[in-house]
């Protein structure tokens, strides 16, 4: 106790540790990038793109849920906003280049996110979840009613078009690398956001909101910004998806989709960066494998079983459990 601690030494130790952590992060990022670059040579690219779109969606959701502590039950609305907007624009304005269509979809989702955020962030816990759910249901209702969405049938035959008017995206491999680039960009952005000065405030709000208020933070503004970023990324995921699959459908807007993204995130590991990616990969795969195999009539009950098992047996998710294991055994 009487031992004196020199702030400079401590500071140095802290910086060292930061550097070590950064190195680890870089390495992990590197591995991820390499894996994804090589993947289409082993796995069907459209399937990979599906995984990437959902992974982006889950990463976006996790920014809000895992890092800000806000459980949105309406994120499907942004996915749908992105996919319908992009789908509509690309189908109806043939002059539009693909990336502009995607940007427009993202922009609409962003604005919608701002609307949701303003209406919901003052509420807490379950109420927050329920307001977002209700708003998303209204969006769903709008999409069912509106003429341009094609109602139940959805939008079909959305052209993939040309990137920057030059690169033809009809080719699956080209499309894949475009989607991958966007995904990685967003993933790194989120990685940055959660460690940024802003991310620190989000973390503090998640852990102890009244205290953050008493330190002079207008927490609602922070929540709104986090929400908007999350919505924008979710919208981007939707936009990409509509280009990849060349369709937009009501499934994107259904509350089951909002539930599914929660499952993905949880299964992968809430509040971890890689978790949602792993979770999305897992869920998309499982659904696909099951619906092909002899158990195809049993997809729902099996998914149900996975829900139950996850919650009971590994609540911190795949990545979370691995982290725990590593921390316990290798530190």
């Amino acid at each position: 106790m009487s031992q004196s601690f020199d702030p400079a030494t401590i500071h140095k130790a802290i910086l060292e540790q930061q550097k070590a952590d950064d190195r680890k992060k870089m390495m992990l990022n590197g591995v991820l990038v390499l894996l994804l670059m090589a993947a289409p040579f082993a796995i069907y690219p459209v399937f990979l793109m599906k995984i990437l779109c959902f992974a982006l969606f889950a990463v976006a959701f996790n920014l809000l849920f895992g890092f800000t502590g806000l459980l949105s039950f309406g994120h499907a609305a942004f996915l749908a906003a992105g996919s319908y907007t992009t789908g509509y624009l690309l189908s109806n304005y043939s002059g539009l280049t693909t990336e502009l269509g995607i940007l427009a979809g993202t922009a609409v989702a962003t604005v919608l996110g701002l609307g949701f955020a303003v209406l919901s962030t003052r509420r807490h816990g379950i109420y927050f979840a329920m307001v977002t759910l209700a708003l998303a249901q209204l969006v769903f209702f709008f999409l069912v009613q509106a003429e341009f969405t094609g109602g139940e049938d959805g939008m079909h035959g959305i052209p993939r078009g040309h990137l920057l008017g030059l690169i033809n995206l009809e080719n699956n491999l080209t499309m894949y690398y475009f989607v991958l680039a966007v995904f990685l960009g967003c993933y790194l952005l989120v990685q940055r956001v959660v460690t940024s000065p802003f991310g620190q405030i989000l973390k503090s709000i998640k852990q102890n909101e009244p205290r953050a208020i008493s330190l002079g933070y207008n927490v609602n503004q922070y929540k709104v910004l986090a929400f908007v970023i999350s919505a924008a990324l979710a919208g981007l995921a939707g936009s990409l998806k509509s280009v990849v699959f060349q369709l937009a459908s009501l499934n994107d807007a259904h509350w089951h989709m909002s539930g599914e993204v929660i499952l993905m995130t949880l299964l992968g590991g809430v509040g971890t960066l890689l978790g949602p990616v792993v979770g999305a990969t897992f869920v998309v795969n499982i659904e696909y494998q099951l619906s092909q195999g002899p158990l195809r009539d049993w997809v729902d009950p099996i998914l149900g079983g996975i829900f139950i098992l996850t919650v009971l047996a590994f609540r911190s998710g795949i990545v979370g459990e691995i982290n725990k294991f590593v921390n316990k055994n290798l530190r």
Binding site: G150, F245, L247, S249, S291, Q292, D297
Partner: protein
């Protein structure tokens, strides 16, 4: 020649959701029956079946079909129930020049504005359903109509078709009411239908909505108060679920009924042995279309989509499902439809003894004439 020495058929349908009973796992059984009846091989080539649950999602369906085509060399995609799925899938088929046979979908747009040279719509669509039923009911004196419409594309289309037929026959639609999809409780709507005083209350919806509406109508005594109930899209499974008590007297149009003749009965008996239930028109259609497809493959010794489709269009269809059916250039398989009436409890001898066939509607009269078609494939335009 037959690619890879295999004819590979992908069966894609809703296996677990709302439309499960319509086609679903039993549809796969019907397809397997057809393959077995055909002999299990075409021209020495294997016939393989892969199947998947589309989960009623265009996303799932399209990624499955892409994968089937690109990685597994699937030649034919069959089943196809939800219209959103059928439309999405036919786009992909066209892109890759593979063949699809839609058996479960109702939307007439599938061979109209959404027609492609790569698919066939086999069993029925909303046009003859509306046509057949509305025609018959108006002719029996049901002049003023009140339509309960499921509020989405399919319902709207059906409503449009009915309105046209009713008005053409000198009737009048005095009210329409669009209800959300799905609606668990119809009492409010039935009450409004009763209050309208219309002769006929028509249900332009499907599945659980229709059965719910019929149940509620019977509970609120719609027919007792002198109104006629007309269900525009009602499957055998729906009527079975409702029971003749609630459904008796309802008129409906169907593409096929298991108890029409010895041939249909014989096939249905075999089907029931395997599945425990009587087949719907979709099950029968899947059986028939698979057979027709395989015969075309055999005749042309090819599994190329265009070759087979052309052959199928040139061959009249005569089997237990259809008499003199023909596939038009827009992909519509045109065959006779039947106006049926649900039996009364006294008439019905067992749980599947549900319909009496009132009238046969010749195919050309039933389906949308090519002259009205919006399909760009139609040469006469």
């Amino acid at each position: 020649a037959i690619s890879n020495d295999t004819v590979k058929i992908g069966y894609l349908a809703d296996m677990s959701g709302t439309y499960r009973d319509l086609a679903g796992p039993n549809g796969l059984k019907a397809m397997e029956m057809a393959i077995a009846d055909f002999g299990g091989k075409v021209k020495g080539a294997k016939i393989e079946v892969v199947s998947a649950d589309d989960r009623n999602s265009a996303d799932v369906a399209s990624s499955t079909v892409r994968r089937w085509i690109e990685n597994e060399n699937v030649d034919l995609v069959a089943g196809l129930v939800a219209s959103s799925v059928s439309i999405a899938v036919s786009d992909i088929l066209e892109e890759n020049d593979k063949l699809g046979i839609v058996s479960g979908s109702a939307a007439s747009s599938i061979t109209n504005e959404h027609c492609t040279p790569n698919h066939i719509h086999y069993v029925y669509d909303t046009y003859p359903l509306a046509n057949g039923t509305a025609n018959a009911v108006v002719k029996e004196g049901g002049k003023s109509w009140f339509i309960l419409t499921a509020d989405y594309a399919f319902g709207h289309a059906l409503e449009g078709d009915v309105t046209r037929v009713v008005e053409e026959n000198g009737g009048e639609v005095i009210g329409t009411l669009r209800h959300p999809f799905p609606t668990p409780d119809f009492s409010s709507f039935i009450l409004q239908a009763q209050a309208s005083g219309a002769d006929v209350v028509a249900l332009a919806n499907a599945g659980a909505d229709t059965t719910n509406a019929i149940n509620t109508a019977s509970e609120f005594g719609v027919t007792q108060s002198g109104q006629t109930l007309a269900a525009l899209l009602l499957f055998l499974t729906d009527v079975h679920a409702l029971g003749v008590e609630a459904a008796q007297g309802i008129q409906l149009t169907t593409g096929w009924y298991w108890d029409m003749n010895d041939e249909t009965r014989a096939w249905s008996d075999r089907f029931m042995e395997q599945t425990g239930v009587r087949p719907t028109m979709v099950h029968a259609g899947i059986y028939s279309s698979t057979l027709q497809y395989l015969e075309a493959v055999e005749a042309t010794d090819s599994d190329d989509a265009q070759t087979v489709r052309k052959q199928m269009m040139e061959t009249p269809i005569n089997d237990m499902f259809a008499t003199n059916g023909k596939i038009r250039e827009d992909g519509r398989m045109v065959h006779d439809m039947y106006l049926a009436e649900v039996k009364t409890p006294d008439e019905s001898e067992n749980e599947w003894d549900l319909y009496k066939i009132v009238r046969t509607i010749p195919g050309d009269e039933a389906y949308r004439p090519l002259s009205e078609s919006k399909c760009p494939l139609v040469s006469s335009k």
